[in-house]
Amino acid sequence: MNENEKYLLKINNLKTYFYTLDGIVRAVDGVSLTLKPGKTMGLVGESGCGKSVTAHSILRLLPLKTSQIKEGEILFRRRNDKEVIDLAKINPQGKLIRSIRGKEIAIIFQEPMTSLSPVYTVGNQIIEAILLHRQIKPQEAREHAIQMLKSVGLGMVESMIDEYPHRLSGGQRQRVMIAMALSCSPSLLIADEPTTALDVTIQAQIIELLKSLQKQFQMAVLIITHNLGVIAEIADEIAVMYLGRIVESGSLKQVFENPLHPYTIGLLKSVPIIGNQTKKRLAPIPGSVPDPLSVIEGCAFRLRCPAYKQKECPGQEGVAMVEVEPEHYVRCLLYDRDEGVRGNEN
């Protein structure tokens, strides 16, 4: 990757482990990714692949007692002084991370039903976020909150601001969450499965909203989802995760038109497509995601891989990321040839 290129967020070899009674869960096991300002990165993978843990590691929202960032750095370029800080090293309960959370990096969660507090009005919750980060009067904060609710496309905002969340539908709550997340104009928005709990027509509304707000607010978006369609609609770049590692990354076009990793190919083949005249059988990936407690040597996908090679794949070392075409990386021995430029991370 070009060093001169300005990144907003750069994660290097992040390892986040959970310590459970049954053993160590390597939820994130060496993730590296770079997010440029104003761009949208899609992180895609099945449940349990570590995509949410990656997001929560960035904001240091993980449970303190049972989890730990074992290795790696999360470099984030701050807005004003342009200094770069390593989020992985700072105190997760300290002042610094609190000044970043909600102000420079905001997050939208999956469940619009549970991520708003039921005992405060919508307005209260947004105003609280604004007052925490900006020195303005409560009245001004309220006006700003009304402004934000209007910008996410909600109607009758003046009366809605004093409603409790249970009066709103799922789509409206998700809009409130987005309004709250954007109220301090963050430079990075993390959207963790923002549309999974919503109906398709409401999902379409939210996707369009996120796209237009991104342009308006000039922010970078890290969108996490298992839905390949949502990713294809919104992302500029994609990283595919499997068992705590990124197995393929590249631009949207590269990954969808020329998928390289057997896992990516399998994922794309296993979704039914509307209008596909021939009712041919779906081609699922055999087996299921292995137990998170297990340690798989060599390629983690080899147990389900159709291109499995008995000799090479179970090797002692992890498989390296290979750059097959410019900016298109894959972690698979099929492409580990001399013509491919080796990635510098493992």
Partner: protein, 348 residues
């Protein structure tokens, strides 16, 4: 692709006539009825033996209520459900006691959530054996053999018979649920969102399994889901539901080719496409689904329909067959020129 049971090709196995289910809303000390949630409203359709009828719609449109009324888990407010048993169509709402129990052997359901639909304190053996015991079909060694057979049928290891559900992944649990549904050799299986809680790769496995089982056992499916692409893939015919009514019903291949109801068109355009080159114009439906206890007058969809005219606000449209097997509930189905998704892939 579909094997036929006993009779001719077009044997109707299930017929639903003007089925309505309202849930009363009680208020106050005297529990007076102040209104009704009109969950299912005047729905009629029939299902042929060996086919898959897909029912698609957003949450709250009444698709699960419909399934439960058909199974008599809820009592219907009005209407009839006729089911073919021994060559005769019988009204299942008139059945009682032993007759009803006999009917239940023929109709089974697969639930959405594989995590809450299996009793965590029972082993897989006990879960699958329960319907066989209740109906007194087999016991002892024979029961064990039958459970083993069923496990094999759905692709699970017979050795895992004595494990508890928590030892299985989501996809495997759904297979246990399928084995339980098939234990009594039913003819009609209602699949209520059977794959929506599963991961993409596992979802495809379960869809393939359901298709294989249908071919092998000659099952008839009523397949309920909110995911249009899954429903289109598995179904022979599709019914689109909105606010308690079926608004369009058609052979599966006509869903995308010639949608005739504006709601179907909007649903199709809302499905995110995995082709990054397709930049179809998206129809964004304004607002939300209206409250089913106070549905709009006239055509229920008129509040969100971009083609709505004055007539739609007052007159209820008629259920009309506009081409063979293609029914809609819209005043303007014949004149509107609606579109599905552009299926031509730029990469090919």
């Amino acid at each position: 692709m579909k094997t036929d049971m006993t009779d001719g090709n077009d044997t109707v196995i299930l017929e639903i006539k003007n089925l309505t289910k309202h849930f009363p809303i009680y208020r106050g000390f005297l529990r007076r009825i102040v209104g009704n949630v009109q969950a299912v409203n005047n729905v009629s359709f029939s299902v042929k033996s060996g086919e898959t009828l897909g029912i698609v719609g957003e949450s709250g449109c009444g698709k699960t209520t419909l399934a439960r009324v058909i199974l008599r888990a809820y009592e219907a407010t009005s209407g009839e459900v006729l089911y073919r048993q021994n060559g005769e169509m019988i009204n299942i709402f008139s059945l009682k006691g032993q007759e009803l129990k006999k009917l239940r052997r023929d109709m089974q359901i697969i639930f959405q959530d594989p995590f809450s639909s299996l009793n965590p304190r029972k082993t897989v053996m006990e879960i699958i054996a329960e319907p066989l015991r209740i109906h007194g079909i087999s016991r002892g060694q024979e029961l064990k053999l039958r459970v083993g057979e069923l496990l094999e049928l759905v692709g699970l290891n017979v050795k895992h018979m004595n494990r508890y559900p928590n030892a299985f992944s989501g996809g495997q649990r759904q297979r246990i649920g399928i084995a339980r549904a098939l234990a009594l050799r039913p003819k009609l299986v209602i699949c209520d969102e059977p794959v929506s809680a599963l991961d993409v790769s596992v979802q495809a496995q379960v869809i393939n399994l359901l298709e294989d089982l249908q071919n092998e056992l000659g099952l008839t499916y009523l397949f309920i889901a909110h995911d249009l692409s899954v429903v289109e893939h598995i179904s022979d015919r599709i019914a689109v539901m909105y606010l308690g009514s079926i608004v369009e019903m058609m052979p599966a291949q006509e869903l995308n080719e010639i949608p005739k109801h504006p709601y179907t068109e909007a649903l199709l355009s809302a499905v995110p496409s995995i082709d990054p080159n397709s930049h179809k114009p998206r129809i964004i439906l304004p607002g939300e689904i209206p409250n089913p206890s106070d549905p709009p007058t006239g055509c229920k969809f008129h509040t969100r329909c971009r083609y709505a005219e004055e007539k739609c606000k007052t007159e209820v449209p008629a259920w009309d067959e506009i081409s063979p097997g293609h029914w809609t509930l819209c005043h303007f189905s014949k004149t509107l020129n609606l579109h599905g998704i552009d299926t031509v892939k730029a990469s090919e």
